[in-house]
């Protein structure tokens, strides 16, 4: 029998409000442990929560961007469980009236658009952080009470790769809204995955497992693949799948059982009596809707239309808000109507530079004019593509302009045939076999010879001219 995976994701996004969701404590990342706390977020007896208006507005904003219906009437509920990082042993969350529900996010799967349903998005308070030192466990309550938006997808995802795309696109949308930095390393974006398998074409859901401890999008993808295989093996062996929560072990690349359904907690949700239910004005929702900027999908379409980019290029350039702003500034500033060279440079050498420096593309200090200059030098044949990459690296390191670097490093491309003839003859002489191959009809072998000339000229030779020269020389002979 052929099976299909059914996947749903629960994503927690930490909203970047200045203060916590139910008190006035600051939310700065990296502060000394237990310095951003007060009786309210420490859950001291007698303290009471007061809702942070901005956290509510951010939640509505995300809900709208995910095409959700915003509840006109909503409330908070208490969820009960015992853990030392939860000072009240109560988490204020939302149970049956989430702020946003019934939305969707369109993702790209194999060049096609697939719509993933968003079941709900609700606001809740974060727990603290446990730090284990030898025999002792310490608690840092700075994170306690920071606003979290939990975004729950429908089980519409049918492959680990789709889950990866969904997360990438979701992160991208939230980032565009300026409500979270969505940094998984900092814990400002967290993901749990629910997975089951069922015979392809059937409707009924199989027994699911929930995977926790997923610390990167890659971990989500790998863990899901592992879990699918595990489910399929159990099916093949005729064994029962038990409903359980499993932890992803990144080092061992496998999931381990944490607790089964029988051990599942009864959270005893009930309405939070300290926060009265409230209504959200339609007009207020309208105002918040107006603050939503152009979102990645719209921007991608516009980049394709305005700058003639391919879907592939446009998608890469809108992936984060900063990248898109950086890219658009450079696309606009490029004097030619054909923007392809700019896109190539941004996605190619510049993205590589960013990667190797562990930075974002937007942090690469190459102004639109400087980029234009480099591209101009290449297009006019003054420097080779290879030399241009050297110029780029040097420019980022030293801040010098392209002209200076070309001069100082003597990178001017040699296009003069007479200056290249000696090197060419030497290469022909050293590689009789390759020359023979070419003459025997293996046209591609000429590229090896071009490469050798480039090497001898330290990349300065104009490869196009070298190729023409070689072709003429070897065909004439």
């Amino acid at each position: 029998m052929e099976y299909e995976p059914v996947i749903g994701l629960e994503v927690h996004v930490q909203l970047e409000t200045r203060t916590k969701v139910f008190c006035g404590c600051l939310t700065d990342f990296g502060a000394e442990p237990n310095t951003q706390v007060c009786p309210v977020c420490l859950g001291f007896p007698g303290s009471l929560p007061v809702l942070n208006k901005t956290a509510l507005e951010y939640s509505i904003k995300v809900g709208l961007a995910l095409n959700c219906a915003i509840q006109g009437f909503t409330k908070f509920d208490r969820k009960h469980y015992y853990y030392p990082d939860l000072p009240k042993n109560i988490q204020i969350s939302q149970y049956d009236l989430p702020i946003a529900k019934d939305g969707y996010l369109d993702i790209g799967v194999n060049g096609q658009t697939k719509r993933i349903g968003i079941r709900r998005a609700h606001l809740e308070e974060d727990a603290g952080k446990l730090i284990h030192r030898g025999n002792a466990s310490l608690v840092d309550y700075n994170r306690t009470g920071q606003p979290l938006l939990e975004i729950v997808s429908e089980p519409d995802i049918s492959a680990p790769e789709e889950a990866y795309e969904y997360l990438t696109d979701l992160k991208s949308v939230v980032e565009y809204l300026d409500v979270s930095d969505c940094d998984m390393e900092k814990g400002s974006l967290r993901c749990d995955a629910n997975i089951s398998v069922r015979p392809r074409g059937t409707k009924e859901l199989g027994t699911k497992s929930e995977i926790k401890n997923l610390n990167s999008f890659k971990a989500v993808r790998d863990a899901l693949q592992y879990e699918i295989n595990r489910h399929l093996e159990l099916k093949a062996a005729g064994e029962q799948i038990v409903q359980e929560t499993r932890l992803w072990d990144e080092k061992e690349t496998k999931t381990l059982s944490m607790r089964s359904k029988e051990e599942a907690k009864d959270y005893r949700y009930f309405p939070e009596p300290d926060l009265p239910p409230f209504t959200i004005d339609k007009s207020r929702i309208g105002e918040i809707r107006k603050t939503i900027p152009e979102l990645p999908k719209e921007k991608m379409r516009r980049f394709m239309k305005d700058y003639g980019l391919t879907l592939y290029d446009a998608r890469l350039l809108v992936i984060s808000k900063n990248t898109s702003l950086y890219a658009e500034e450079r696309l606009k500033a490029f004097p030619s109507k054909d923007k392809k060279p700019v896109a190539n440079w941004l996605i190619g050498p510049m993205a590589q530079e960013a990667n190797s420096r562990n930075k974002e593309l937007a942090d690469i200090p190459v102004s639109p004019a400087a980029l234009n200059e480099i591209i101009g030098l290449v297009e006019s044949g003054q420097i080779s593509n290879l030399a241009a990459k050297t110029v780029l690296t040097e420019m980022i390191d030293s801040g010098k302009n392209a002209g200076t670097i070309v001069r100082e490093k003597n990178l001017v491309q040699i296009s003069d045939e007479s200056a290249l003839a000696t090197e060419m003859e030497a290469v022909i002489k050293e590689n009789p076999k390759v020359v023979g191959d070419f003459k025997a009809g293996k046209e591609n072998s000429i590229m090896f010879l071009v490469g050798q000339v480039m090497k001898r000229t330290k990349g300065k030779a104009n490869p196009k001219i070298v190729r023409d020269m070689l072709k003429r020389r070897l065909t004439d002979a």
Binding site: F44, P45, G46, S47, Y82, N89, V139, R268, Y269, D274
Partner: protein, 484 residues
């Protein structure tokens, strides 16, 4: 002159005329305490039976009520947070807990110039009870008969006022915890409308029912103390943003044309015959003062006790989850975390607290929520609707505060249900969120005080003060003091 015997408004006059100083009042209280506190035990953690220093915070006259209670001593129930001063809800689990902040009512009292006493009053653990017997410090004794309970849960505050060990006291009322002890101790006590007084800093029992309120020797003082502590607080999302009137303006007004409803369901079996006679006479007195009385019906009264014990215990089980030994209070060490939780809570909570946590946890459990908690909320709405209907035609409702006078210590301690029934007339007001006052209305043959309860429309404490004051002026039951 025994200054401790006077009321706040009488003392204010003397202070203004410079016939006395706050120090005089305080030393008078200390002297009184030395004589009586050994018998009454209204306070907890008192060093050698004396009041401690007056709280170090000097009066910080500020805002609307600056000076309203200048120099007047006020004592505080042990479940209201006082910065740096132990606040333990009379529970072992909070042993040594010194809050890092003042409750909003404490701040307001400081602003009004009151001297908040550095001593907390006894109570049933976490306000779970109607007799102040469920205190880890032992019971408080009723100043009228030391073998009897003062009522509860704010029994310490009520007894301290009755015994002239303080001038004013603050308590909390979740199901009658101010009104019932006020009735048992022959003093005035009020539960304001839910949302009238900030709960910020009140260690929660049942968040949707709890309300802080005043204890006083007469209605005038009750009005002053209410005015000092009432008002919107941005730190409490359930506090109402409704202006606080000058309650003293309701004093001395007649009650002609006041329409009073007398609920038929409150005068049935279970009521002590003496209480019935005394309350009936009080109603006749109100009529003689020009009020009109009519029998009304509160049809869902019989469900009030069960609804209350589901809602209140459910919320309590949740509110008490935080007492786990991690951050403050008692911690019983164990090698595993889960055992630390279990042992801390096992040793920290008394029997009644455990009973209520179990009841509440059950009511909120998966599979039982709809049948218990949700259903209780629906009936709560019906109870509230009963009151709304009556208040369309009537200005207030008059009932006994409690079906009996103070019972003897130990009499009901082994019978929780019997104990729960002593709040039968008071809990409906908490479920409906409406205000209620208990004012002394006579004595039984054994010289035990009986209280008259007046219930009013939401945020209409003025009518309660007006009616209670008119009655008090004509009867002066409050002038009879216990002999200690």
């Amino acid at each position: 002159m025994d200054l401790h015997r006077l009321t706040a408004h009488e003392l204010s006059d003397r202070l203004k005329k410079k016939e006395a100083t706050p120090e005089d009042i305080f030393s008078s209280l200390q002297k009184r305490l030395a004589e009586t506190e050994g018998k009454v035990k209204a306070f907890v953690r008192l060093a050698d039976g004396r009041l401690g220093q007056i709280r170090r915070t000097p009066p910080q006259l500020h805002g609307r009520n600056a000076g309203l209670l200048s120099g007047i001593p006020v004592c505080i129930k042990d479940n209201i947070c006082t910065e740096g001063l132990a606040t333990e809800c009379c529970s072992r689990i909070l042993a040594g807990f010194k809050p890092p902040y003042d409750a909003t009512v404490i701040r307001r009292l400081h602003e009004a110039g009151a001297l908040v006493l550095d001593a907390k009053t006894n109570m049933d653990e976490f306000a779970f009870g109607s007799s102040t017997e469920n205190s880890c410090f032992g019971p408080t004794h009723n100043p009228w008969d030391l073998d009897r309970v003062p009522g509860g849960s704010s029994g310490g505050s009520a007894a301290a006022v009755a015994a002239d060990e303080t001038i004013l006291a603050v308590g909390s009322d979740t199901g009658g915890s101010i009104r019932q002890p006020a009735s048992f101790c022959g003093v005035v006590g009020m539960k304001p409308t839910y949302g009238r007084v900030s709960r910020y800093g009140l260690i929660a029992f049942a968040s949707s029912l709890d309300q802080i309120g005043p204890f006083a020797k007469d209605v005038h003082d009750c009005a002053l103390l209410l005015e000092a502590i009432a008002g919107h607080d941005p730190m409490d999302s359930t506090s109402a943003d409704i202006p606080v009137p000058d309650y003293t303006k309701s004093l001395g007004k007649d009650i002609k044309n006041i329409r009073i409803g007398i609920p038929r369901e409150y005068f049935v079996e279970g009521m002590d015959p003496e209480v019935k006679t005394i309350v009936t006479e009080a109603i006749e007195k109100l009529k003689s003062l020009g009020a009109s009385t009519h029998e009304v019906t509160l049809a869902h009264t019989q469900y009030a006790v069960p609804v209350y014990y589901i809602v209140a215990t459910a919320e309590a089980s949740s509110n008490l989850a935080r007492f786990d030994g991690v951050q403050y209070g008692l911690r019983v060490k164990a090698s595993r975390m889960i055992d630390m939780y279990k042992r801390t809570r096992g040793e920290g909570f008394g029997a009644e607290a455990k009973r209520r946590i179990l009841l509440g946890t059950f009511a909120l459990s998966h599979g039982y929520y709809d049948a218990y908690y949700l259903r209780a909320l629906k009936v709560r709405t019906l109870i509230k609707n009963d009151f709304d209907k009556i208040f369309k035609q009537f200005d207030c409702i008059v009932t006994p505060t409690s079906p009996t006078p103070a019972f003897t210590i130990g009499e009901r301690a082994q019978d929780p249900l019997q104990m729960y029934l002593s709040d039968i007339y008071t809990i409906s007001a908490n479920l409906a969120g409406i205000p209620g006052i208990s004012v002394p209305c006579g004595f039984t043959k054994k010289k035990l005080p009986v209280g008259l309860q007046i219930l009013g429309k939401p945020f209409d404490e003025e009518t309660l003060i007006r009616t209670a004051h008119a009655y008090e002026q004509k009867t002066r039951w409050n002038k009879t003091r216990p002999s200690l």
